[in-house]
């Protein structure tokens, strides 16, 4: 069985540190009013942004689980 450094540590680091950048991006575009949540189209892009983060997280998690147990 590969070590923690081979499996979940990179995953945690990727979505932990990468997540910090991602969340700061969301905060900045909200605070600067670059995204206007009163507009339907902007609400759509907000959802797409969040979806993308969890989409890639799920893909990586599934691939790690497949490598370990399939």
């Amino acid at each position: 069985m590969p070590s923690f450094e081979n499996t979940w540590l990179p995953f945690i680091y990727l979505y932990g540190v990468g997540g910090l950048f991602f969340v700061s991006g969301l905060i900045i575009i909200r605070k600067s009013k670059a995204i206007n949540m009163e507009k339907k189209r902007h609400r759509y892009w907000w959802k797409v942004s969040l979806f993308g983060f969890f989409y890639f997280m799920a893909i990586h998690a599934l691939l790690i689980l497949s490598a370990l147990y399939l």
């Binding site: 990179p10 680091y13 991006g25 575009i29 670059a34 797409v48 993308g52 691939l63 497949s66 490598a67």
Partner: protein, 696 residues
């Protein structure tokens, strides 16, 4: 080293493919009416067309060769760099993308002039040209490594023997690429890239399925791979040649921001979309769906090669050169002709990448070197058409020169064990100063002109020190990555480089009030002009001492600190910078203003319909289009608003379209009056229906 792979059938297929692609591209060169069309494709395309055209650029730039090599060495973790770009998407789609469109900048250095000063534009141009030329060099090196295994080790003409070397091959490739791009332009590149994008994905998947078939099915393939080969992320910090943490900082952070924010080739594609929203669609679709598929497309030959080397080490020896694994595997699993097709798709995609980069480099040259230099040197006013023709010629000459420089850039990259490492090192070294400057410039309105100059000069000086003294400077940031004396901290060096650039930029910005007091005081001294000349001269001297490593590390660090102070004083003294005028409409904090400046009047945000109209010619030289009152009401448009009309045939993806402004309405519903210039620009066909929509 493998040689003479493939058969004569493969060569015929490759040559036919190349001729067909070049003819296809040259057909679209008729859409280059101006330099704007040549470089940007006229801001008219639909998102799907741009998304597809990015496939070949993205896949080509990241290349079958380097990812197959890493796939063969490390397994599925070769996909890492294709699936770590999402973190900066909010910054891009709601920050940088609207800014580059609404400010109407034609190049990234131009943004620096608007946001900071002409001197930062000059520094940004140097750094960006170095970055682009380096990227072209990586493209040439990859193409050379892809084609070399297909050729014999030597050939003879008139009894004379010639050895085929990598550099010789790169020169021949550069000649072909240079000729093509010089006569194509952005529209030709976009359209050849669309075709190649589809073919590339097909070819990559073909290799995967043929490989699985060769091995005996997915089950055998999966079971043949060791568990560590199946993991999607590399080991955290080892080996030095391929580890997660280094690649995260080099590619996931510096690379992602570099790719989205400063890769002019890509930025120009997004600028070719008809609106910001279409650009958002193209970018997100590309990152969410195309990049993961591309990760399989480019890396699978390495995984297949690894599985074959486990099951049949006599067919693919484990000692096979990783950079030639793609060609070796494709040759083993394909029939004659199919191999030629796969190789043609691969090399043509690489050509697309290099084409795009060369086109973008020429755009930077025209905007940031040619035009400012001409403005400075010549006072003679030429007609618009004459000026444009001259610029188009200058762009073509510049492309040839940058092609030659790209070939020269191959020399240092050749010393790395694989293309992947060469690209990684190049990215971690050249992107940080520009990435930090663009990023802080766009998202932090307090970021000053002095701070960006300091980032470019002192940040680069500290990066040079990191190259000379990786221990202890980069070691502190290495996350336990082993020190490789030959290529020290290839990837994690990016974290050190980012850190020093951010540190210099932030420190300079937060001390701006103290700097102002100091500069004001200097201006009151009697000999301030001579004093400032001395300060500038000393700064240059210190940079040279650091560049050539002429002292010990502590002394050099002290000199770097002194240089920071001197550079900051100089830039505050010589440049006029005001936060108010240099941030209005130029940062994420004033996007509404940027939109208003783009339009030239108050923005009309009311939601309207997209309508269908027939066009009629109006003899006029004004850039106005005239719709009926009812049609204007449907579009929720007023005279003076911006309008976009397009051939209604969806398959054209906006190729036949044009932007303009609404004129005073008439009473003929379903009719739009347009000028001859609009017809020529949009290449509209008589009796073909158009769609019209309000832009803002």
């Amino acid at each position: 080293m493998h040689h003479s792979l493939g058969s004569s059938t493969d060569w015929i297929v490759m040559i036919v493919y190349f001729i067909a692609i070049m003819l296809f591209g040259s057909y679209f060169s008729k859409y280059n009416r101006t330099t704007t069309d040549f470089f940007f494709g006229g801001r008219r395309f639909k998102w799907w067309l741009i998304a597809m055209s990015i496939v070949a650029t993205g896949v080509g730039s990241h290349s079958f060769i380097k990812y197959s090599a890493k796939g063969f060495e490390a397994g599925l973790s070769s996909t890492m760099t294709y699936m770590n770009d999402w973190f900066f998407v909010p910054f891009f789609i709601f920050g940088w993308l609207p800014i580059i469109v609404y400010t109407k900048i034609r190049s990234i250095p131009e943004y620096f002039e608007k946001r900071f000063s002409p001197s930062t534009r000059f520094l940004a141009t140097i750094l960006l040209l170095l970055y682009m030329i380096g990227y072209v060099g990586i493209g040439f090196l990859t193409m050379g490594k892809a084609i070399l295994p297909l050729l014999p080790p030597e050939f003879s003409i008139f009894g004379m023997q010639f050895q085929i070397t990598l550099m010789g091959l790169v020169i021949v490739i550069a000649l072909i690429v240079g000729i093509y791009i010089t006569y194509g332009g952005q529209t030709a590149v976009i359209f050849t890239d669309i075709v190649q994008g589809f073919i590339l994905i097909f070819a990559g998947m073909l290799v995967f399925f043929l490989g699985l078939d060769y091995i005996g099915g997915f089950g055998l393939f999966w079971n043949a791979l060791p568990t560590t080969w199946k993991l999607p992320l590399a080991n955290f910090n080892n080996p030095p040649g391929f580890n997660f943490v280094g690649i995260f900082w080099q590619d996931g952070i510096a690379g992602s921001v570099g790719f989205l924010f400063m890769n002019m080739g890509l930025v120009m594609r997004f600028m070719a979309t008809k609106s910001v929203d279409e650009g958002r669609k193209a970018a997100t679709f590309n990152i969410l769906f195309v990049l993961p598929i591309s990760a399989i497309v480019v890396g699978n030959a390495g995984w297949i090669g690894k599985a074959i080397s486990v099951l049949h080490p006599d067919v693919v020896p484990p000692s096979t050169d990783p950079d030639s694994i793609f060609v070796v595997v494709a040759n083993i699993i394909s029939l004659p002709g199919v191999f030629g097709f796969v190789m043609a798709a691969l090399t043509a995609a690489l050509m697309s990448t290099v084409d795009t980069l060369l086109n973008a480099t020429a755009a930077i040259y025209i905007n940031d070197v040619h035009r400012p230099a001409k403005k400075w040197l010549s006072k003679k006013v030429k007609s618009w058409k004459e000026e444009d023709r001259q610029e188009l010629n200058a762009a073509r000459i510049a492309t040839v020169i940058f092609t030659i420089m790209g070939v020269l850039a191959v020399i240092p990259f050749e010393s790395f064990p694989t293309v992947y490492e060469a690209h990684g090192y190049f990215h971690s070294t050249l992107t940080p100063p520009l990435v930090v400057a663009i990023f802080l410039g766009v998202f932090w309105k307090k970021f000053t002109n002095a701070a960006v100059v300091a980032t470019f000069i002192v940040g680069v000086a500290l990066m040079i020190l990191g190259m000379y003294y990786p221990r202890p400077l980069i070691e502190v940031f290495a996350h336990g990555t082993e020190y490789d004396p030959q290529h020290p901290y290839t990837y994690i060096g990016a974290l050190y480089n980012l850190f020093v650039c951010v540190f210099v930029g932030v420190l300079t910005t937060v001390t701006r009030n103290q700097q102002k007091k100091l500069t004001d005081w200097i201006k009151t001294t009697p000999n301030h002009k001579s004093l400032m000349s001395a300060i500038t001269f000393i700064s240059g001297g210190i940079f040279v001492i650091i560049l050539f490593n002429l002292a010990s590390l502590p002394v050099l660090m002290l000199l770097a600190a002194i240089m920071l102070v001197l550079i900051v004083i100089s830039s505050n003294y010589y440049s006029k910078y005001s936060e108010k005028t240099h941030t209005d409409g130029l940062t994420v904090w004033s996007l509404a203003k940027a939109k208003e400046m783009f339009k030239g009047s108050k923005v009309n945000d009311r939601d309207g319909e997209i309508i269908k109209v027939n066009w009629k010619l109006k003899e006029s030289t004004d850039d106005l289009m005239y719709f009926s009152k009812n049609d204007m009401a449907k579009m929720a448009a007023d005279p003076g608003d911006l309008v976009y009309i397009c051939d209604a045939r969806k398959i054209l993806g906006g190729l036949k379209s044009v932007h303009s402004t609404y004129g005073k309405p008439h009473d003929e519903d379903g009719i739009v009056y347009i000028t001859q210039e609009h017809i020529d620009q949009g290449q509209f066909v008589k009796d073909k229906v158009l769609t019209a929509e309000k832009e803002m």
